[in-house]
Symmetry: C2
Subunit: 309 residues, 2 copies
């Protein structure tokens, strides 16, 4: 009974892990989601993948206390329902009830960003912290809030849409339809757009005419002394840090974790961000400046966090 | 033992209330703070005011479970220390330990904005809500966060500096030293500044050359059909609502309460704000749109909230 199952349900793959009581993954099984099918067929495959993972270590669901699912989109954790997940094409799917009947154990649900934050808190970079904010810098800017060691998700589990706080009222148009959201400045997508625009003005830049801009490319060019890239990276770090400063002022977390592709830039990203937050947060360096670090668990955070729900 | 004492410690007055188990104030006593004196003299007066309030209803501290203090400035609730309160001239004052020894009952401490939010949650406009954000629109923009029915204050109780989230990066200079904070656009001070600037361009405006601008005056002129005042009020409501939208997206509270002088404008303020938040929050009207209302308890919220700590 000391084991738990974590399910990272993605638009492309279903990744299942069996974790022990120390939140170590002891078995793993992964299958394609096949999101073009009915939800019931996908849930059948989730149940089969759970059994497959357990068999690898000679266990059954009878050895497990519970299972947890991290799903994209809007999830209602209290009712166990995926309310809206566009890349699964799921609307109001009561996944917990269906899967719980198949597995014979309780099944819990939360948003994938929340699960990643919880995974890092129970077993990753934020171990031992009570109040944690995790920000994922990827195609968009995702967020998870841990308060008192548990996910904080607010009314209808709708909270922690942290990419959609304002950086500049009436500014850049965001994918959510609002103007000026943090995500429109601080996502990897935004960084590539900023770099492409700046390089267009500077034919001598290493980034001039680059067909497939990536965040890594921009950071690399800056490190190689490219002045345009350096200015773009400097400003981008200010955008990221300005939003983090808001979260420090509003929530005073013990720790802020950065995840997603851009977080692999490590200290090239973290050092300027730490400097900015300490200088700009309420009370300055005497204020409640939290530790700011990169997430540690990568894709495993979602599985471990789902298991810890 | 069913009674509690609430102390609203202000720069001008010390207001003490005795509350019953239903959080009704059954006795009240108020004395000037005399903040120019030593902290110990002020704390002596707090203790005397507590005794005076209790005597009015024939009680002593032996009838009370505990006392709570709402203080301005930065408070460390865990240690019971007022860390920095400029308008009391208090720095690192262990008020709970000193007062608890005088009264013979446990004494708790929180920031006054947090106490007001808690007071409204246990006995005011947010009764029955679990997650509440209260915003005070006054000289500045103050905030209190209630999560799961209790004050959320974060690391070193530094959280909920909600006036200091960004509305416009690099925008108006805020009193905290940062540029573009919500407070610099949404405080009563900011409204008066916006109205004075707009009226200067319009000699026909009712607000032209007004020597002592107040929030009420601007709202009244708008209601009387003054076009300049109408535009100022419309934009001001957008500023308030944009910050509230951020808090909805980040925290999805059940309810948002507005307090402070400007909140007395009631529906003239609330109706445009509700419309804006529903249109701009993540997921729009299908999102987690909370109830938005004016606080009910006025100055009593701080006393009741302190008693409920």
């Amino acid at each position: 009974m000391g084991y738990r199952v974590g399910i990272d349900l993605g638009g492309t793959n279903i990744a299942v892990g069996v974790v022990d009581s120390a939140y170590r993954i002891i078995a793993h099984h992964s299958v394609p989601t096949g999101a073009e099918r009915e939800a019931s067929a996908v849930i059948d495959d989730i149940a089969a993948a759970v059994d497959a993972a357990l068999r690898k270590v000679g266990l059954t669901t009878a050895d497990c206390a519970c299972a947890g699912i991290g799903s994209p989109g809007t999830c209602d954790s209290e009712r166990g329902v995926v309310v809206r997940a566009y890349n699964l094409n799921w609307f109001d799917v009561p996944v917990c009830a269906i899967l719980s009947e198949k597995l014979g154990i309780p099944v819990r649900l939360s948003n994938d960003a929340n699960c990643a934050a919880l995974g890092e808190t129970v077993a990753g970079a934020a171990r031992g912290c009570r109040n944690v904010v995790m920000i994922t810098l990827g195609t968009g800017v995702g967020g998870g809030i841990i308060i008192g060691g548990s996910i904080y998700a607010g009314m209808h589990s709708a909270g922690a849409e942290l990419g959609h706080i304002l950086l500049k009222m009436d500014g850049e148009l965001c994918t959510c339809g609002r103007r000026g959201c943090w995500e429109a400045y601080a996502s990897a997508t935004a960084l590539c757009r900023q770099a492409t625009a700046a390089a267009q003005e500077d034919p001598k830049s290493l980034l001039y005419g680059v067909p497939e801009m990536t965040g890594k490319r921009v950071f690399d060019a800056a490190e190689q002394g490219d002045e345009t890239a350096r200015r773009v990276v400097e400003r981008y770090c200010e955008y990221v840090a300005a939003g983090l400063t808001d979260l420090v002022n509003a929530l005073a977390p013990d720790m802020i974790l950065l995840g997603g592709g851009i977080s692999r830039q490590g200290e090239r990203l973290l050092e300027p961000i730490r400097r900015y937050v300490a200088a700009h947060c309420f009370g300055g360096a005497q204020g409640a400046v939290p530790r700011i670090a990169a997430a540690e668990l990568g894709n495993e955070a979602g599985i471990i966090g789902a298991a810890a729900l």
